[in-house]
């Protein structure tokens, strides 16, 4: 197939042309009389007639290839030659328009073929701004799952056409296309992407990594879906409008250094317990390592509560206060403030610090030390648990510890152990922010409780956990006051736990090296216990059979002796028993002993001899 014909595709509702027409239908202005539609990189101009027919616009095709332009002209359409990589292309397009009003632009599957598309995009941005017009562009998605998975496995296959067209110069992801548009003063107002579960790169057909049925593919797809939702997009098809060019217009620079701040401490508060907030911030003020920022998220606070939070922050020593950011949030559930904090965080790591937690003076330092050796992993210390209540002394509200700090949580982390029970209060672990920015992890706002547990499992699965083996925090267990434990009924906790289990079971689950050893040990133990249990069950069954046989014998014997179930003589038996004839003579000793001997023999059997 020659270059000329490889994209000679007909207009179909489900391809880029159909999607483009749908977007134009929704976004081209009503005043179309005498207005022009400019089709950049028009090729054969397949979309020309449908545009003319649908919108009544005057079609103008622009391309570099004379053969294609001639083909257009032969159909009675206006066509012009222009080099879209030319820095002066904007002026050239203005000249082509020649004072006519521009209604819309299409730039379909052209950008990626240009050695430098920035001039063409800038020209589009300029024209849209001047004419208040709309544009639609389509660009292949080089991060399609088929390409992504194969790239991971070291496979990269150019093809004549498609996602990895051998003539593509620029390759785009959703993010890089957004940036390219922004640099040109363009903004996507609606996307109508072409989705393909199996793209032209879905080969070979028996590729285990590409099959949706395989474990590895399913795991990669679940990770990708969380990280970036465009894995099945074959072509981005976007409606564009003009927008201001942001100050930062350059290409991203490779970042080789780490962020300046080690830790972002996200502290959610409802402003109802200012004393606890004071204690929490005091713990931070006293940290031996101050390489952190604090994001206090005031969630659904009324004016009075917000004021109290602001006062507490205002009271803080300057060296801490200048690193505290107060974020106000008036919507959402328990996780919403955490997610806001995650989005605003700038640290390499993130900690979730509830406003009633208490930490030791080396809480940050222990994590910072561990980061040097285990960068990228979750870092976990051990939290103690302490009961507490609110107490008022001389009119001032204080917190009273009512029990000793107690070791309630496992000192070492096991991912499989955590599948059953959460042993890590949020204050005892921190996670790399990359899990948020690169893997799309957020707290699930649909969960009313246990959102931290669900997040921990997902984060630990991806990043792994480094145990620090130090007790650095105290998780308070409120005895007389509301907390998430008391606000939500047991059923709700159980429902959320069920939801976590359902999600885990819905996809493959990755275990860290060595974790299967734990599983093996547990499974062996379980197998042994089952064996013992079966042995015991069989023995119990045998004993029950013997017992019922003995009971039956006793019953028969009692009946024979005229006794009831309790061993008392049966009244009826006495009443109705036929009167024994008076013995003609006294029974012999043998006659008297026989029943007793029989009874003894039976009793011995009953005793199990």
């Amino acid at each position: 197939m020659s270059d000329l014909h490889k994209y000679d595709n007909a207009v179909q509702p489900d391809n880029k042309f159909g999607h483009t027409l749908a977007l134009l239908e929704r976004h081209v202005g009503a005043d179309r009389d005498g207005a022009v539609h400019l089709d950049l990189a028009c090729g054969f101009g397949h979309i020309a007639e449908p545009i003319v027919d649908a919108f009544g616009l005057h079609y103008v095709g622009v391309d570099l290839d004379d053969l294609e332009l001639d083909a257009l002209r032969s159909r009675g359409l206006e066509a012009h030659a222009a080099d879209l990589t030319d820095p002066e292309v904007g002026d050239r397009l203005v000249k082509i328009l020649d004072g006519r009003r521009l209604a819309s632009v299409t730039f379909l599957d052209g950008l990626e073929h240009l050695t430098d598309g920035s001039h063409a995009l800038a020209a589009v941005g300029r024209l849209l701004a001047e004419h208040r017009a709309v544009a639609v562009t389509s660009v292949p998605n080089v991060t399609h799952l088929d390409v992504g998975i194969k790239t991971l496995l070291g496979e990269w296959a150019y093809t004549e056409a498609g996602l990895l067209d051998v003539t593509h110069y620029q390759l785009y992801s959703h993010a890089s296309l957004t940036s390219a548009m922004a640099r040109a003063g363009l903004r996507c107002i609606e996307s109508n992407d072409v989705l393909l579960a199996r793209s032209d790169q879905h080969f070979s057909v028996d590729h285990v990594g590409l099959s949706e049925a395989t474990t590895m593919s399913a795991w990669l797809r679940s990770v990708r879906e969380s990280a970036e939702p465009h894995g099945l997009v074959n072509q981005f098809v976007w409606a564009l409008t003009a927008s201001p060019v942001p100050a930062e217009t350059g290409l991203p620079e490779p970042v080789t250094s780490h962020g300046d701040t080690f830790l972002s401490v996200v502290m959610r508060t409802q402003g109802r317990r200012p004393q606890e907030l004071r204690e929490a911030l005091l713990c931070l003020a006293a940290q031996s390592c101050q390489d952190f920022e604090v994001l206090v998220v005031a969630h659904k606070t009324n004016v009075e509560e917000q004021k109290s939070v602001e006062e507490v922050i205002e009271d803080q020593p300057p060296y801490l206060r200048e690193r505290i950011r107060l974020l106000l949030l008036d919507r959402g559930r328990r996780s919403t403030p955490l997610n806001l904090g995650l989005d605003e965080a700038r640290g390499r790591y993130v900690a979730v610090f509830d406003d009633d937690d208490v930490v030791m003076g080396d809480w940050v330092k222990e994590f910072a030390d561990a980061e040097r050796e285990s960068r990228g992993r979750l870092l976990r210390t051990v939290s103690l648990r302490q009961t507490a209540s609110v107490d008022t002394v001389r009119g001032q509200v204080g917190i009273r510890s009512t029990g000793a700090p107690t070791a309630m949580y496992s000192p070492t982390f096991s991912l499989t152990g955590h599948l059953v029970e959460n042993q890590s209060p949020p204050i005892s672990w921190i996670f790399p922010r990359s899990l948020v920015t690169d893997f799309g992890l957020h707290y699930d706002d649909s969960m009313t409780t246990t959102e931290d547990w669900e997040f921990l499992l997902r984060a630990a699965e991806i990043a792994g956990v480094r145990d620090i083996g130090r007790g650095t925090a105290i998780y308070r267990w409120w005895e007389t006051r509301e907390s998430s434990r008391t606000e939500h009924v047991a059923d709700e906790w159980a429902q959320n736990q069920g939801e976590i289990e359902r999600r885990i079971d819905a996809r493959p689950f990755l275990l860290p090296a060595g974790e299967t050893r734990v599983l093996r040990a547990k499974l062996r133990e379980l197998k042994q216990l089952k064996k013992l249990n079966n042995q015991q069950s069989r023995r119990i069954a045998r004993l029950e059979v013997a017992q019922s046989r003995h009971f039956a014998q006793i019953k028969r014997l009692r009946r024979k002796l005229g006794l009831d179930e309790k061993g008392a003589p049966l009244a009826g038996a006495r009443r109705h028993a036929p009167q024994a004839p008076a013995p003609a003579a006294a029974p012999t000793l043998r006659q008297r002993l026989r029943p007793r001997t029989r009874l003894r023999a039976l009793a011995a059997r009953l005793r199990g001899r």
Binding site: G395, R400, A404
Partner: protein, 308 residues
């Protein structure tokens, strides 16, 4: 949120802290927090002056003259940062007594460990308690490990106050002769002072709304981890306190334990020291013979809310 308490009369606060090879960073953290407290106190008219005295019992100076100038300049809300190098390990009792003499202005003294960071409002919440003239000694609550001593809900009354961070009117301190530096090198000097405050008819108050961070740690299983110095000097102090507050039976019992061949060397040394002082007639005259003030219970000097 209830309004912040306001002491009826502004005070001059004198914080004093005994250094012993203390890291400079720790001193800087404490001073930054005190400077912030003073900022609030001065702005709100809660105090008219705020001084800090750093007594150094280390064998070599923790701060040189340039450090002191730098620290003073970095904390503009502290009217004076006074540094005094004792040149020898004077102990907390003698050190605090001496520091109380170094600056005249304070109306209220705060005894603070150098590894303490007070919450911005802590000092002013403690000061407000002295609006009650019956109060003689006020203790702040410590984080992250709260002292398990019991206190009365509502009044905050407690048996004794720990000088990790505690406030007393200076005139009362002088009237009572300060800490008993002859009997106590460190540890239990605060228990003894508390009991003498109560003996003088004033109360000792624990204010949980006034919070300070005291840089302490627990083991993984939540157990207290005493330092060697704590074991050594608290053993000596236990004997001195029991003797001074008329518990001869307890002294005998402690000595039996400390003089046992299997006892810790620190305990054996404490017993020997006690015997030596006893022989030389250096022990104080026992007081509170009816046990109206003091309390000894399971090696503790008050009821505890929980074991630690």
């Amino acid at each position: 949120m209830p309004p912040e308490p306001r002491p009826t009369a502004p005070a001059v606060i004198g914080v004093q802290s005994l250094l012993f090879h203390t890291p400079v960073e720790s001193i800087e953290r404490m001073l930054a927090a005190l400077d912030n407290s003073s900022r609030i106190g001065l702005a709100e008219g809660l105090c008219t002056g705020f001084t800090v005295t750093l007594g150094d019992g280390s064998s070599t100076r923790v701060l040189d003259d340039d450090d002191v100038v730098r620290l003073q300049a970095a904390h503009p809300h502290l009217h004076e940062v006074k540094y005094h190098w004792f040149g020898w390990n004077v102990g907390t009792s003698r050190g605090h007594n001496a520091m109380a003499e170094l600056i005249a202005e304070p109306t209220h003294l705060i005894f603070s460990n150098p590894d303490v960071v007070p919450e911005p409002r802590a000092i002013w919440r403690m000061l407000e308690v002295f609006d009650d003239p019956a109060v003689g000694f006020v203790e702040a609550k410590q984080l992250p490990i709260e002292h398990p001593k019991d206190f009365a809900s509502g009044t905050g009354e407690t048996g004794w106050a720990t000088t990790a961070f505690a406030m007393t009117p200076k005139d009362l301190f002088l009237e009572l002769g300060g800490f008993d530096e002859e009997s106590f090198f460190m540890y239990c000097d605060d228990v003894d002072y508390s009991w003498r405050v109560r003996e003088a008819g004033r109360s000792v108050i624990y204010q949980p709304a006034a919070v300070v961070f005291h840089d302490k740690y627990l083991s993984l299983d939540g157990a207290w981890q005493p330092t060697g110095a704590e074991v050594k000097y608290s053993a000596r102090a236990a004997l001195a306190l029991a003797h001074k507050w008329s518990r001869p039976g307890l002294v005998k019992k402690i000595l039996q334990g400390y003089e046992h061949p299997d006892a810790l060397p620190a305990h054996q040394e404490a017993a020997a020291e006690f015997r030596r002082r006893q022989k030389r007639g250096l022990l104080p005259e026992p007081r509170d013979p009816e046990h109206q003030i003091s309390m000894f219970k399971n090696s503790r000097y008050a009821e505890h809310r929980f074991p630690l």
